[in-house]
Symmetry: C2
Subunit: 353 residues, 2 copies
DNA sequence: CTGAAAGCGCTTACAG
DNA sequence: CTGAAAGCGCTTACAG
């Protein structure tokens, strides 16, 4: 019969405390504490005896007590302003995973764009003496509906706009876009068009600028980009505009770099409706690598992955550095994106005949 | 000049403690504590004086200290096994929002289908003496990759399979499906077909059974359902099969009830490709009310909303009841779905001419 | 090399 | 009606 919590030796009194360990090892609780933390000096044999006792009792120090003393709760707050989590859940997964082996946990606060709710959550986090806060949002150029400056704890921003002197982690949109376009160029395409979201979005301007720079650098012809809502309809619009212009005697594009996967999805559908085959006649690349959409596309869509989980991990590490007083350069930090090549740009034939 | 934390009176020593409050009110910390908690008896005037002192100092009791004493951390664990959060982030938002004014916070653990990671997160939660755990998943008929029974704290399951004697919260799939079909019947449709996901999924069988029962009850003809992957391709397949059967002399459907929004989306596209107009010739209803897809569909898609946020709120309340020792009936509890009528079934003409 | 004491911030019997 | 004391589980100077 297993006695996982050593309850038999101590009565059914919940998890073992350092008191139980000290008792079993025949030392004082001070010695037990020092033995377990590797601090202080003592005979190796004593330390070993305490260690064994702790192991026998499945002792795990109560973080609540530790926090009260150390004035560090080893907990952080995770503020998110995303409804469906498409962007922020992967970030949060990265944060919690990256902090796990540092003994730090994260309180989740979903604030649904509601300033009052956000303030309540923030107050609750500060009450709990979180060591720091990570703020995430849907949109890089929009701040959260609650002010996070002047807080008694450090704040790291991910995928949302913070004050200029704050640590902010963002995907390297320009690098991602450039890689996508260079991939198209490398596959021999010369007329590379671009369809994206509203250019009021900062990411749209970044991705467009990188596209423009890459084709200019390669000496390829400039083509007017098409902007519209973040929807498949924009993919349809873009194809109509670009290919109808073609019917006026101009050469039509042989590649389309899209600002997100839904636009790419719409474009591929529109191309098919026109009798054009992807990737034979036109290659298409999306952005965000939203697997659900990218795999749904026929053929599967090449897309730029934002490495959101890695972004979350980096945010956790940066916040920890700040908490521990290690220097952390303020400002926006860009993490590389990864191009995920699939069939829409000629890669990985897969289920194709 | 504001002195929010009363630091001027106490030196720059962080947030006010009950000590500071007692000092300012001229009472002992015991009295201060009782005054603030409404416990014990004392002169109204004393209680009032303490209250004012607490307000002046912006005093908020340290939950860490309170937890150490009360053996309740006022924190719960939130285990999620969803990658993009489509289903679980709304649930989590409901949980955190519903628990906020009860002073309970939630630790997020994203476990990515990884048993080792899940166990580590679980250990961390137990170390932190969480009062309870809410487990959520993508799929109702799949357990999480870690066993949650025999834990020293109560567990509530949402959208994932737990042991039979556990409290489990689920959407009322049958009621949702029935309402969708009754809505189609009420709009005068007689031949109501059904396309859904793989019937290895429990929800698929529930939704199909409700559809079948509703049309049988209304005396409408039975039509073989079409099952396939959870993708738009299945919508295409279903339309092909159902309408090609029609060309063999059988009457074709005038309504299509789909097992999720993506299938509905594919079906609507396929119908358009056949020259059939939605909702004039065929009405279509989806399931899940995934706004991103439902709004993207042309015309916008009528769909069954799972009320995930409310599910989260209810889960939080149920867990709290369990934590506080209040009786909570075990087993699966079903919360009603809501039909969201849009243009694909003739409602809300909206942007239509 | 080891332990007694103080203390983190709070609450709760128990005295007065 | 109010306060001194003990204690939640732990760590850290400080003595011995």
């Amino acid at each position: 019969l297993q006695d996982l919590f050593g309850a038999g030796a101590r009565g059914a009194a919940g998890p073992a405390t350092i008191h139980d360990v000290a008792l079993l090892a025949g030392v004082s609780i001070a010695t037990a504490s020092k033995a377990l933390n590797g601090s202080g000096r003592m005979k190796d044999e004593t330390r070993e005896r305490v260690r064994r006792a702790a192991a026998d009792l499945a002792f795990r120090p109560n973080p609540l007590a530790r926090a009260l003393l150390s004035r560090r709760s080893f907990a952080i707050g995770l503020l998110t302003n995303d409804t469906y989590g498409r962007f922020t859940l992967p970030v949060m997964a990265g944060v919690t995973e990256g902090l796990l082996d540092r003994g730090v946990s994260a309180f989740l606060c979903a604030i649904d764009d509601d300033p009052v709710l956000a303030q309540s959550h923030l107050d609750a986090l500060l009450d709990r003496r979180v060591d720091g806060i990570i703020a995430t949002g849907r949109r890089v150029d929009r701040p959260l509906p609650v002010a996070l400056d002047g807080l008694p704890v450090p704040v790291v921003y991910v995928l949302t706009e913070g004050p200029p002197d704050a640590v902010t982690l963002l995907p390297d949109e320009a690098q991602g876009a450039r890689e996508a376009v260079e991939h198209l160029i490398a596959s021999g395409r010369r007329r590379i068009a671009h369809a994206s979201g509203p250019d009021s979005f900062h990411v749209v301007r970044e991705r467009s600028a990188a596209w423009q720079a890459a084709i200019a650098e390669a000496g390829l012809p400039a083509i007017d980009p098409v902007h519209g809502p973040w929807s498949e309809a924009t993919g349809h619009t873009a194809v109509a505009r670009l290919w109808d212009a073609g019917s006026a005697g101009l050469p039509t594009p042989d590649a389309l770099f899209c600002g997100n996967d839904q636009i790419a999805r719409g474009a591929i559908d529109a191309l098919r409706e026109r009798g054009l085959e992807v990737p034979r006649d036109v290659v298409v690349v999306g952005f965000d690598n939203w697997e659900l959409v990218a795999r749904e596309t026929r053929p599967p869509l090449t897309s730029v992955d934002l490495n959101l989980k890695e972004l979350g991990r980096a945010a956790g590490r940066a916040l920890l550095a700040l908490v521990e007083g290690r220097p952390e350069p303020p400002g926006a930090r860009r993490l590389p994106c990864t191009l995920r090549v699939r069939e829409s740009s000629g890669g990985e034939p897969g289920e194709r005949a």
